[in-house]
């Protein structure tokens, strides 16, 4: 920031991380993975009242190869699980997953043998969105949170260092079973 003030007006400075993050988050194309009731809310969010087009996300790609974001909207049954994983695998990096609704996040009200209890059993999830179903405003809030996450994501060597630091912190953290003072 100090250098920008000394340069003549008309110059902006940025970093590769910021520019790449900005370009990745603008026009993030979602892949259609609407399974159940949350899909209706997702469709509404793409509609004119709660517009996803203002983020460049009105194109829900049919093919995973052209999509960046997989919004898992709805309950994932045991039969659908390999399909979900195959679609996720066929997406091209960089990719993100938003699990929309309680059924995708944790199995929701279906605590039984037929529904996968949370899609994080299948794919790595970047942002969870509770709700049954979440309102379009809540979905937009989750998408904006994801945009923030993408904008500030580290790249390259920085990313590896941040990941190693997180692993070390997790290994040295106090396990929950030894934490006293909680309502256990």
């Amino acid at each position: 920031m100090g250098i920008e003030e000394k340069l003549p007006s008309g110059f902006l400075l940025t970093t590769v991380e910021q520019i790449a993050g900005y370009m990745r988050k603008s026009s993030l194309w979602p892949a259609t993975f609407g399974l159940a009731c949350c899909a209706i809310e997702m469709m509404t969010t793409g509609g004119p009242r709660y517009d996803l087009g203002r983020f460049g996300m009105e194109v829900f790609r049919g093919s995973p190869r052209q999509a960046d974001l997989m919004i898992v909207a709805g309950r994932v049954s045991q039969k659908m699980a390999p399909v979900l994983r195959q679609i996720y695998d066929q997406m091209v990096e960089p990719k993100w997953v938003l699990s929309m609704g309680v059924c995708a996040s944790s199995g929701g009200m279906f605590n039984n043998y037929a529904i996968v209890q949370g899609v994080d059993h299948l794919v790595p999830v970047d942002i969870y969105l509770p709700g049954c179903p979440p309102r379009p405003e809540m979905l937009i809030n989750a998408i904006l949170e994801l945009h923030d996450q993408i904008q500030h994501a580290p790249l390259g060597v920085h990313r590896r260092r941040v990941a190693e630091a997180a692993e070390r912190a997790a290994l040295e953290a106090v396990p929950t079973s030894q934490m006293k003072g909680l309502l256990r």
């Binding site: 399909v83 695998d89 066929q90 091209v92």
Partner: protein, 185 residues
């Protein structure tokens, strides 16, 4: 001739060549119909034009005709093509590359793709037979079509010759027909 003279008298020009007789001070010079930036410059150019009558032509602007008005469309097309090439190249250079067996599979809405034989499998031979028969009878029609155009000039001799040709090919046709070569399955 009379029609054109009539129109000219009425002040209309038949093919819309410009203001015409109604406004003779407008639109007379060829540079008025071309784009502003493609026009010749003015008095200095006129002087140099007069001085270099036999010189080599440097560019069409010096002659005063103006650059082709479709040049901007070509420039736009070149920019569009350049942008596409740049996008693909930048993606190939800057994109992360992580191998995943499923990425190379055919997309079949998430299920395992239907297994196909390696190298496309064996081709059924009936395609070859159809191609061969097509070649033979196509050559026949290559001879028949010019005959159909010029048959009256070839008179009786041409007719007899053509009939003999068709009969010869007909023998081959009858053989193929009876031997079952025209059956698809």
């Amino acid at each position: 001739m009379d029609v054109l003279a009539d129109l000219r008298n009425r002040g209309l020009s038949g093919s819309g060549r410009g203001p015409g007789a109604r406004a003779p001070h407008l639109g007379r010079r060829p540079s008025d119909h071309t784009l502003g930036w493609a026009r010749s410059e003015g008095p200095q150019q006129v002087r140099s034009r007069q001085g270099m009558r036999t010189g080599s032509r440097r560019s069409s602007t010096l002659k005063g005709e103006g650059v082709n008005p479709y040049v901007p469309i070509l420039v736009l097309g070149a920019i569009a093509a350049g942008f596409a090439v740049f996008s693909i190249a930048a993606g190939a250079l800057a994109g992360p590359r992580r191998y995943n067996r499923a990425k190379l599979d055919a997309y079949e809405c998430g299920i395992e793709p239907t297994p196909h034989a390696a190298g496309g499998g064996r081709f059924p031979v009936k395609y070859y037979l159809v191609a061969m028969l097509f070649i033979v009878f196509d050559i026949e029609s290559v001879f028949l079509i010019p005959y159909a155009v010029a048959f009256d000039q070839l008179k009786l001799f041409g007719l007899i010759e053509m009939v003999l040709f068709i009969v010869t090919v007909f023998v081959a046709y009858a053989y193929v027909w009876r031997r079952g070569g025209l059956e698809w399955d």
